[in-house]
Symmetry: C2
Amino acid sequence: MSIPFDPERFRSEGRAVVDWLADYWAHLEERPVAPAVRPGAVRAALPGSAPETPDDLATVLADLDRVIVPALTHWQHPGFFAFFPASTAAPSIFGELLAAGLGVQGMLWSTAPACTELETHVLDWLAELLGLPKRLTSGGPGGGVILDSASSGVLVALVAARERATAGRSNTAGLAEVGAPLTVYASVDAHSCVEKAVGIAGLGRDTLRRIPTDPSGAMRVADLEEALAEDAAAGRRPCLVVATVGTTARGGIDPVPAIAAAASRHGAWVHVDAAWAGTAALCPEWRPALVAGADLVDSWGTNPHKWLMVNFDCHCLWVADRAALINSLSTKPEYLRNAASESGAVIDYSDWQVPLGRRFRALKLWLTLRLFGAAALRQRIRDHVAWAGWFAERVAAEQRLVLLCPPSLSLVCFAAATGDAATAALLARINAAGPILVSQARVADRLAIRLAVGATLTDRRHVEGAWRIVAEALDAPAG
Amino acid sequence: MSIPFDPERFRSEGRAVVDWLADYWAHLEERPVAPAVRPGAVRAALPGSAPETPDDLATVLADLDRVIVPALTHWQHPGFFAFFPASTAAPSIFGELLAAGLGVQGMLWSTAPACTELETHVLDWLAELLGLPKRLTSGGPGGGVILDSASSGVLVALVAARERATAGRSNTAGLAEVGAPLTVYASVDAHSCVEKAVGIAGLGRDTLRRIPTDPSGAMRVADLEEALAEDAAAGRRPCLVVATVGTTARGGIDPVPAIAAAASRHGAWVHVDAAWAGTAALCPEWRPALVAGADLVDSWGTNPHKWLMVNFDCHCLWVADRAALINSLSTKPEYLRNAASESGAVIDYSDWQVPLGRRFRALKLWLTLRLFGAAALRQRIRDHVAWAGWFAERVAAEQRLVLLCPPSLSLVCFAAATGDAATAALLARINAAGPILVSQARVADRLAIRLAVGATLTDRRHVEGAWRIVAEALDAPAG
């Protein structure tokens, strides 16, 4: 490999990498979804030190085939039904390739103007497609940004909320000086990233109130109101309520309008975590349930890297008041000063996030929206929901299984009728078969098997195949 | 664009994207480094809504040429001498392409075993190449991880330091309950990310003590000792000292061994931020100055995405006690439970970072080390340092300029002899010329022009060309 850069070599070797990936995708279905690999096996197959002299690309690609690929869980496999999908596709892969190849650094508008402007623009596009209110877009005091993950979205929302609750003093003087504890609220089914953020931001995980959910998996607002009132009466300061639209375990949807009303009585920031389910707001038929109350919240986030075929990382966060975020996170050292920033006419996205630097992530979202078009993206979501519905019907008709809740969009949670031990055994048999991978959660205090439809390659026949594997696992003699 | 995935189409379109990038690199030198673009110009050239029906790739690539590229600052341009380099090259671009194309999610070992193991392995490789002590590698209680940026590295080090200082109580009960303020120390020249992290983690930016530097740009340890003692005497708890190896403004190097000794008397965590300069530890001749004291510190971070031709994001963080980090950041919800995690035999990297999800970033570091080989990477660093030295000699010999400090590795800081106004005018003239971009900082209380050699395409002739542009800007009539 020549240093610095040989365009002709880049052309031929780049083609080889593209071809390698095309072959990977073309034959993905033939592999088991998850590897049979022991801890340490990959490392044992690699040399103990970096080479002094160059290896060639063919050798590295051969090592990918020999060492790496057999030890991967294949998230793009059509039989991947675990966790939530981390779907990607050609447009997004090309977008990431372009971002890496352009190699620009978008920390400030001035360090790569198009990187910033395309991001603002594409987030306005996506907000419109999802039916989010104008107030969350860049036309007014709000706007959108791409962060790496919903975890980071919750963290920056929490920091902004903390500052709003303490008039900026926790950022300057610190929480120890501020004194009265701040409190945070989320349902018992909210994602673990809320707890993590509360820890990182110094509030202490004990200040997170886990509000019970109703049988539909939605936060009980009466309990939220009670918790808020109790904390306020005790001199604590409610600063943030996280509403989840599509909980990880079962896809429960919190009642955002009522939550926002309750939070507003205490001046608390409301953040909506719609990491997975938010993408379905592309379809008008589900939009009301998914974006209800968005006109009342302070921030709203979803992950195109889950269900919109944009490769990780692509969390889209919209805020109603970008100044609240910027004031909490901005730093202005001399070495970053520039006329554009000082004019106030531009966005410097480093002030919207934890890191300073940023990749040109808008490219992959832009390419995905343009190369697929909104209509095809909607149809894909509708297919997934329909196939999950079909699968749920099979579960409901099977006496040895229990459908633990109605399917939420494309997510189905079920269990063995005879209890957790049987469910655990069934889960193990399903995954041991090879062609599919499902994961687990607790739903209604029972161990649940989760089947989440949404991988890019998944077609109806794969969902039908998944049902056959479940049926066979039910019929298998207990091991 | 078909959904889900047509391998043959991916092959042909992927080739088109690779060719587009090869052309971009081949003609990069013909462009000005920085664009002449007004805020809003990019957005004005884009449609107001996402398309309903697909655009084709050729149209999108044409839009890149028409709208995006002319509005970028070209960080890979051979005349890019601003900030620090964000260098990338073919191996890293291929690595990012492979990561996007494989689309695996490495949050847990079990969710993509090779993603985790390759990362651990390559971080051990790099630690060895840099001459870092064994205690920071995975063989013992330490180990390395790839995070997005030095900002995130400082933040997670701070959170771990905070927990160590409060026996885990700030993470659970919160800083308000813990009471006595925690304090953090860094030199006046430390990166702004330290201040940002102290704010995010709830300590309050006022608790960051900015320790003066000596004329060489290194933290004055006597002042650090005094600040530590004063805080301790007042009942505050020193929890973290950040030592910078290669400050942003001028490349100053803090005396890590003495800092570690001072910090240890107060039980404070020592983090080394070697974001830019750390890469030069590849060369044994500079290693002693760069990794001195690494055997005494708690964490040590550097950015291959600056000077090692790995595209952003690739911050490598090594810790001496991974349990301290994990205990501060771990969450274990039911939906992530798995046998491998519970065995304790594997690393779950989501517990080492803010986000839950993670890309397969180890690929780009692995490909860079393998396809270039260590010897070529060392030679590249040596060339950059030599060329910067040559440039600094020209500056020193020019009576109208002042070399504000000896060059630090490949970084040269200089000013107009007649003061800041003249320096600002000179800076503007240099950048207005087009072929090069330099940036600014304050050094020894003077406005400095910074020339940082390190872009992948930069060769000796580009540094010579930079000097010609500076000389012409000096000769130009004041505008």
